[in-house]
């Protein structure tokens, strides 16, 4: 693909609801990362996939957050029982492999009311 794509671009939900955010990495990229960026802050690492497996999920803030990448390409970030503090831009990045340059998608802006 031309670049990393993310859907939806914006998501508004109510406190307590469940949301899924999707990331389509650059074709052939094996490494995939999720970051979260709050207003006025730099992106913060959430989880890293190498292929289908989550190689490092140390950045996930709590067990309401979960991510999958079942076929080693598209990834879905899942947030259960959303809270207002989850409001942020969720960025996805991919790289040809780990330790290579990461290319970011346009992000999903999540607003929890």
């Amino acid at each position: 693909g031309a670049g990393v794509s993310q859907t939806p671009s914006n998501k508004v939900t109510e406190k307590g609801k469940y949301v899924e955010l999707r990331c389509d990495p650059i074709s052939g990229h094996t490494a995939l990362y999720w970051y979260r960026q709050s207003l006025g802050q730099g992106p913060e690492f959430l989880i890293y996939f190498q292929g289908t497996g989550a190689a490092d999920d140390s950045g996930l803030p709590n067990d309401r957050f979960f991510a999958v990448r079942p076929e080693g390409s598209v990834s879905t970030l899942k947030i259960q029982r959303t809270e207002r503090g989850d409001s942020a831009v969720y960025l996805c990045a991919s790289a040809s492999r780990s330790q290579e340059t990461q290319y970011f998608g346009p992000g999903t802006r999540l607003l929890v009311l």
């Binding site: 992106p43 690492f45 960025l91 790289a95 990461q102 290319y103």
Partner: protein, 115 residues
């Protein structure tokens, strides 16, 4: 704790000015430092620096890394209004069992270039 600090946090200049953005870091097992430009949501890659003292250049932008003093600078010469953006500095550090590539970002420098 690993951290990346950028300064200034915001900067307003006029077209044609030259600007220098700063990034200092404290990380264990440094691997590389990267600069990104963020105009709306997607950070776009500018430079990756791994070696001290070697300037990387792309048009009016250039960057250099000092691994002894633990900092990097990003220079933009002859600024244009299209340079207005947030400039993010990030560091990749080796974690347990080797680097996974996850980046530690600074808060960014918001640059505004006035006509």
């Amino acid at each position: 704790e690993d951290k990346v600090v950028q300064s200034p946090l915001s900067l307003v200049v006029h077209e044609g000015d030259t600007v220098t953005l700063n990034c200092s870091y404290e990380v264990t097992n440094f691997r590389s430092l990267l600069w990104y430009k963020q105009e709306k949501k997607a950070p776009t890659f500018l430079f990756m620096l791994t070696s001290s003292g070697i300037e990387k250049k792309s048009g009016r932008l250039s960057s250099i890394l000092d691994k002894k003093e633990l900092f990097s600078i990003l220079n933009i010469t002859a600024t244009q209004t299209g340079d207005s953006a947030i400039y993010l500095c990030a560091v990749e550090a080796s974690g347990y069992g080797g680097s996974q590539g996850n980046l530690i970002f600074g808060k960014g420098t918001k640059l505004s270039v006035k006509p």
